[in-house]
């Protein structure tokens, strides 16, 4: 009853009602490969992919399901998915088939791979990096599930059988569009059906134990996503007599997320209320969170901290929030460092201390936490919090945050480029950042461009129209004027289908 009351309070006071709340957009790409041409065939992978596809459809995912797909088609599918993922809140890829590791990278092997040794196969396969890039632009949550540790078709005594997941952004190099490689620490989870070097069981029946556990757990109502994967792991361990243990890599943001149940309503709350929504967690899950926090799990520490920052909650205790965030920050959690900086800036749970605030903003920024980088850019541009105005430094910070795909930073940078104060950047660059900012779901950008397009110079507006046209989002005249057709196209770019 308390939870229901809280949900009511949160949803109503946050200005949303059940009818007004914007529905989430969830997209999934599900692939199952069994019929390999040269590599040993697999048994349950197609069944497993169907099971997962059906489960996800039941959870309101738009699912694209492929069975026995070759490399060229798989690449096309992934590219299409990448575009669709940009305006999605959640993007999930599930792959059941052969996979292997080579040179620190993971590969998904399509049906038509014909090589007879590992290095050749890699060149005929799709890398995990490509898949990560495809989900990377989804706005809230990115999940890649690799149910691909069946039997290694190329196992030999000399092979390193470690399955290494390369999530270090530095190693993938920069992309051709100048944006940084995917950064999973912003909310990408990669789940493997088994530990590195171990085999995932195909199962005696029609489905593998991992797929069954995953399907059941995905559907569990009111189960927070972080705890969800733990439950999958526990379930698989149990089903396989402790012989198979799924693993996850990457990390989730500090925002709570629910795939199923009434709690899922909190997924669409706006920034401030969303963090507080950890409070809807059921008591048994809160217990789990407490236990994890004791072990130093930084996401658990943050969740508990955010719960205590909501004045509407009985647990309201900002001093304790600060203590919890300090622990997480000390453990190197960049989000905690940023949130702590905010509390110091505002004097919540701790006496206002601008110096400490800035110290923590810099810590978070040095850890590439985009919110912090953008805020420092803002403060340097405007000269806030006692910082001396430094346009050049500000622009550098906005560029860094924009490269991390920060929605506001991309807009800020576009604005300054349009003003002509960013050396080496043109109207096309400004338009590109505006476009990417829209695609990232920045509602303020949509509003500014719709209500106040003349804030931007004509050549920038024209360049944006061209970009929208290139993406098949706009078919009107390229004249730099933002009439109803252009505005409709802006909304489409943002993700509103009319």
């Amino acid at each position: 009853m308390v939870r229901a009351a809280f949900l009511f309070v949160v949803l109503v006071l946050a200005g949303l009602t059940a009818t007004e709340a914007a529905a989430e957009k969830r997209v999934a790409l599900v692939i199952g490969i069994a019929d390999y041409s040269t590599v040993p065939k697999l048994k349950n992978t197609i069944n497993d992919s169907r099971l997962i596809a059906d489960t996800l459809r039941g959870l309101d995912f738009e699912v694209t399901n492929f069975a026995d797909i070759g490399k060229a088609d798989l690449r096309v599918a992934i590219d299409r998915f990448a575009f669709v993922a940009e305006t999605a809140d959640v993007a999930l890829v599930y792959y059941a088939g052969h996979g292997m590791e080579l040179g620190g990278q993971n590969f998904l092997i399509p049906t038509d791979a014909t090589a007879s040794n590992r290095s050749d196969v890699a060149s005929q396969s799709i890398s995990l990096d490509e898949v990560l890039r495809a989900v990377d632009k989804a706005r809230q949550l990115r999940i890649v599930v690799l149910d691909s540790c069946r039997n290694d078709p190329f196992s030999s005594p000399d092979d390193k059988s470690l399955t290494v997941v390369n999530i270090d952004p530095g190693s993938s190099g920069t992309r051709s569009d100048g944006l940084a490689p995917p950064s999973p620490d912003r909310g990408t989870l990669v789940a493997f059906a088994a530990e590195a070097g171990k085999v995932a069981l195909d199962g005696a029946g029609n489905n593998s134990p991992f797929a069954i556990a995953l399907a059941n757990t995905l559907k569990t109502p009111d189960l927070e996503i972080g705890l969800m994967f733990r439950r999958v792991r526990d379930s698989v361990l149990q089903r396989t007599g402790n012989s198979q243990e799924p693993h996850t890599y990457g990390s989730l943001s500090g925002n709570p997320y629910f795939l199923a149940g009434r709690s899922a309503e909190i997924n669409v709350l706006d920034k401030a209320d969303r963090k507080n929504a950890w409070a809807v967690l059921r008591p048994d899950q809160e217990e789990q969170l407490l236990a994890l926090a004791q072990d130093g799990d930084t996401r658990a520490l943050k969740g508990l901290a955010y719960m205590r920052l909501d004045p509407k909650e009985k647990r309201y205790n900002p001093e304790e929030s600060v203590a919890l965030l300090k622990k997480a920050a000390a453990a190197g959690d960049a989000e905690a460092q940023f949130e702590l900086a905010r509390l110091y800036e505002r004097g919540i749970g701790v006496p206002q201390d601008i110096e400490k605030a800035l110290e923590h903003y810099w810590k978070a920024a040095d850890n590439d936490f985009a919110d912090a980088v953008n805020d420092l850019g803002f403060l340097h541009f405007q000269g806030g919090l006692g910082i001396v105005r430094d346009q050049k430094k500000a622009i550098g910070l906005f560029e860094k945050a924009a490269a991390l795909r920060h929605p506001e930073a991309m807009f800020n940078l576009a604005a300054l480029i349009d003003d002509g104060i960013v050396p080496g950047k043109s109207a096309e660059d400004s338009a590109r950042y505006l476009y990417e900012s829209l695609r990232s779901g920045n509602e303020d950008v949509l509003k500014q461009l719709s209500d106040n397009p003349r804030m931007f110079k004509e050549r920038t507006r024209l360049a944006l129209q061209k970009r929208l046209a290139d993406q098949q989002l706009y078919s009107g005249s390229l004249d730099g004027q933002f009439g109803p057709q252009t505005k409709r196209s802006l909304r489409r770019a943002y993700g509103i289908e009319e």
């Binding site: 946050a14 505002r346 004097g347 749970g349 805020d375 803002f378 541009f381 506001e408 604005a415 300054l416």
Partner: protein, 210 residues
Amino acid sequence: MSKINQGLQKIAPVTIAVAMTVTSVLPAQAAVQVASDREMGITTAVPETYAMLLGPRSTLPTVMIPEFELVFSDSATSQITRVLKGATRECRALASEYRASCAAAAFKRAASAASRPDYRAARSALNKASRDLSRLVSRNADRSAPTIGSGRKKYKAVKKAAVRAVAKQAISIISETQTKLLRSSGSVKRKTHYKRIAQAVGSTKVIFRS
């Protein structure tokens, strides 16, 4: 710092600007200027409490006229503001002898709107204002005049001759309340709701914090 004080200091900021204006005529919609707030970009709501109490311009005394400024940082604060704003409209429509009583009831309703744990100090200050205003009305009551309204909105009249004096005292009660709220909520800069959007320095563009 006590939890009560901190509570107010946070998501429930109530900033009060006391505009000292010595004039006999005040524009109906006085803009509120608070220097330090401006930079912070705090939006203002001005329930014209003095107008609520004093009636039409011609009867305005030449004394300090306080005005409210509440920060729309969250729904609870805006609820309180809504109550006071609604009361302003309502009270203004009444004859001047009923207005102090109307104000007392308004503050009582605003206090009920401040029901969250961190609003304790605000609630207590608003309740006290209501009690003091009621006592003021009682002391100057016009027993021959009818009570108007019903339920929580029942208003008593003060003697016509006492209207100005009552207004002056009411203003000082409200000023005191404002000071209490201001003191307990801390300085303006500590308000949680800093500006997310700003006009970029030297530009016509706006830029955003995270």
